[in-house]
C-alpha cells in the first residue's frame, strides 16, 4: 500500500526549503484533502478540494483550474456575501499568489470544485487531481485523501452548477 505519498511530499517540502536545495518546487502544496459528504457520494455529485499553496517562485502565479479523472469539470470557486447570504460562485480569473506568499483554500472560502463526478467519493478514498497554474508548471496531487467534514457552512446547490 502506498497511500501516504501525499503526506510525505508535504512533510519533506519544508526541509528542502530550509536546506536551500535546488529542487524546491516553485509551487508548494501542503495538507491537501477532498471533502467526502452527501454531495460527493453519488455519480453526478460534487465536492471541494482544500490545501495550502505557497509560491516559491519569483513570479506571480495563478491557479486557474484543473482536471481529474473522477470529475467532468474542475473549477476554482469562491464564497461571497450576496444579499446577506453566503453564495458560492466561480472565481473570475482564478486565484493569484504573489512571490513568497501562501494562499489557504479552506471550507467556507476559496476552493477547487470537482463537479459532475463520474464516481462516488467516500471517506477514506484516495484520488488524483491536477491543478492548472498560469506562471508555473501544473501540479498533480496524487493520493488526495477524502475526509468526512461538515465545517465551513458549506452547502452546495447542484442546480446552481449547471452554468
Amino acid at each position: 500500500m502506498k497511500l501516504r505519498n501525499a503526506f510525505l511530499i508535504a512533510a519533506v517540502a519544508p526541509l528542502l526549503v530550509l536546506t536551500g536545495c535546488a529542487s524546491t518546487p516553485a509551487v508548494e502544496i501542503s495538507d491537501p484533502w477532498v471533502r467526502a459528504s452527501d454531495y460527493s457520494d453519488h455519480v453526478g455529485g460534487m465536492t471541494g478540494v482544500f490545501f495550502e499553496v505557497k509560491n516559491n517562485s519569483s513570479e506571480t502565479i495563478t491557479l486557474v483550474g484543473g482536471s481529474a479523472e473522477i470529475a467532468g469539470k474542475v473549477e476554482i470557486h469562491e464564497i461571497v456575501m450576496s444579499g446577506g447570504e453566503m453564495v458560492m460562485q466561480q472565481k473570475d480569473g482564478g486565484i493569484s499568489i504573489e512571490p513568497g506568499q501562501t494562499h489557504v483554500l479552506e471550507m467556507g472560502g476559496d476552493h477547487v470544485m470537482l463537479m459532475d463526478l463520474n464516481k462516488a467519493i467516500v471517506a477514506g478514498d484516495v484520488l488524483s487531481v491536477t491543478l492548472d497554474f498560469e506562471g508555473a508548471e501544473d501540479v498533480t496531487l496524487t493520493d488526495l485523501v477524502a475526509k468526512p467534514s461538515d465545517g465551513g457552512d458549506e452547502t452546495y446547490h447542484e442546480e446552481d452548477h449547471n452554468h
Partner: protein, 398 residues
C-alpha cells in the same frame, strides 16, 4: 491616564532595561527555562511508529477515553481499509502534537502531551464482516461469570479506539477527530472516560493507586522487559496480529460506602497486602514476593484463602496478564455515594489461557468481590503497530 495595557508594557520595558543592566543573558535564560518547565507536558510525545500500537507498554497517562463503535449495516472489508487509513493518519499526526488533516479546530493542537490511541476489534466485528476464520487464537467472548451484573451500555463493541493523553483538552480534541472520521463507517456504541495520576505525582515505575486505595498492578511484568514480551505481545499467527495483543476490558464498580467501613487491617486481609505500603502481608515492601504458605503463630494462613492476591496468583500455567487500569468517577448520588470504579484493562497473548482461568478462580472465591461489581465487559484483538506507509491492521481486511 495610562491604560492597563500601557502600564504593563511600560513595566515590562522597565524590567527589561533593569535586566539589561544586571546581565540580560542570565535573566533571559531563566525565562526560557521557566517557559520550558511550564510547558513540559505539551512537549512530551510517544513515538507512533514501531512494532506495537502505542498506549499499552507505556507509563499510564493522566486521562483516557475508550470509545467503541458498531459497524453500519453492510460495511465491507474495503470500508474497513478506508476507515483504518484515516485513523492511522489521524493518530500519527496527533501523536506528534499536530492537527489532523481537515481539523476543524487546529488551534487545539498545542502539544502532544503523550497522546496515544490504539485500535482494537471485538469478536462481533469478525462475525459481521464474515471473517470469523481470521480471529486470532485465544480471542473469545467471555463466558457469564456469576459475580457479573453487566450492562449493555458498557459492554461489547465491534471496534474500539482507546485514546489517552496527559492533558484533558488534548484528549477531548483527539477523541473528537477520531470519532468524526469514524462516523461514515460506524455508530458510537459506548464511551467510557477515566483518569489516573497526573505526571509528576509518582516516580516512574511506582505502582499507581486505585480509588479503593490499593496499589494496583504490582504483579505486572515490567515495561520494556522480556517478561512483558512473553506475557503480552503475540508472536505467531497472521502478520497483522504479530506484535499485537488481546485486551480484556472490564468496567468494575467499587462499593466505597461499605469498603470504607472496613478497618485498614480488614482491607489488608481482603487484598492480601497492606494498604499503605502495598507489601504482601508476609513481607515489608511492595516488591516482596508473597509467601502463600506462611502461617501465623496460631496456625492460620497469613495471606487468607479468600485474599485477592492469592486467588489471582498464577497457578504455574502462565496465567499472567498486564493490567493498565484507569479510574472512573460518575456523578455523586443525592445520598452522597460515590459512583466510582475502574476501567480495568488487561493485556495478554491469549485470553483463554491467561485471563480466563484466573478470572474463574476469582469469581469462585475472592472476598474482594463483595466490594467490586463488574458492570461492563468486552474483549478486543489489538493489531500490531505500523511503520512507514503501513496502515493499522494492514492485511486483515484485504
Amino acid at each position: 491616564m495610562v491604560s492597563r495595557r500601557g502600564f504593563l508594557a511600560s513595566s515590562a520595558a522597565a524590567a527589561a532595561s533593569a535586566a539589561a543592566g544586571l546581565g540580560v543573558g542570565a535573566a533571559a535564560a531563566t525565562q526560557v527555562a521557566n517557559d520550558q518547565a511550564q510547558t513540559s507536558t505539551a512537549k512530551r510525545f510517544l513515538k507512533f511508529e514501531g512494532p506495537h500500537q502505542v498506549g499499552i507498554e507505556t507509563p499510564i497517562q493522566a486521562v483516557t477515553n475508550m470509545v467503541t463503535f458498531d459497524l453500519l449495516p453492510g460495511t465491507t472489508l474495503s470500508d474497513m481499509q478506508r476507515w483504518m487509513f484515516l485513523l492511522t493518519d489521524d493518530i500519527r499526526r496527533m501523536a506528534n502534537g499536530e492537527p489532523v488533516l481537515a481539523d476543524p479546530a487546529p488551534e487545539l493542537a498545542i502539544g502532544a502531551a503523550r497522546f496515544s490511541a490504539y485500535v482494537g476489534f471485538g469478536p462481533s466485528m469478525f462475525r459481521k464482516l464474515g471473517i470469523e476464520n481470521r480471529m486470532p487464537e485465544g480471542l473469545i467472548d467471555l463466558p457469564a461469570f456469576s459475580i457479573d451484573d453487566l450492562k449493555d451500555e458498557f459492554s461489547g463493541g465491534d471496534v474500539l479506539i482507546h485514546v489517552a493523553a496527559d492533558d484533558p483538552v488534548v484528549l477531548s480534541h483527539g477523541v473528537r477527530n477520531l470519532v468524526r472520521d469514524s462516523l461514515p463507517f460506524a455508530t458510537v456504541r459506548w464511551n467510557q472516560a477515566g483518569f489516573s495520576h497526573t505526571p509528576g505525582m509518582v516516580p516512574e515505575g511506582v505502582t499507581h493507586r486505585n480509588l479503593m486505595g490499593q496499589v494496583d498492578g504490582t504483579a505486572n511484568p515490567a515495561l520494556d522487559s522480556d517478561d512483558f514480551d512473553e506475557v503480552v505481545w503475540i508472536k505467531d499467527g497472521p502478520q497483522w496480529i504479530q506484535g499485537g495483543t488481546l485486551l480484556v476490558f472490564r468496567r468494575i464498580a467499587m462499593q466505597l460506602d461499605t469498603w470504607d467501613q472496613l478497618s485498614s487491617v480488614g482491607k489488608g486481609e481482603v487484598i492480601g497486602r497492606t494498604l499503605k505500603e502495598g507489601a504482601p502481608l508476609t513481607g515489608s515492601k511492595e516488591s516482596d514476593l508473597p509467601d502463600f504458605e506462611a502461617r501465623s503463630a496460631v496456625g492460620l494462613k497469613v495471606i487468607p484463602e479468600f485474599a485477592h492476591i492469592r486467588r489471582a496468583s498464577d497457578s504455574g500455567q502462565g496465567e499472567r496478564i498486564f493490567r493498565r487500569p484507569f479510574s472512573y468517577e460518575m456523578p455523586i448520588s443525592k445520598a452522597g455515594s460515590m459512583d466510582v470504579g475502574l476501567l480495568w484493562c488487561a493485556y495478554q497473548r491469549n485470553i483463554e489461557k491467561q485471563y480466563l482461568p484466573m478470572q474463574l478462580r476469582l469469581a469462585e472465591l475472592d472476598l474482594l468481590n463483595r466490594w467490586t461489581l463488574p458492570i461492563g465487559s468486552a474483549t478486543f484483538a489489538i493489531p500490531r503497530g505500523v511503520t512507514g506507509d503501513e496502515v493499522i491492521a494492514e492485511g486483515l481486511f484485504s
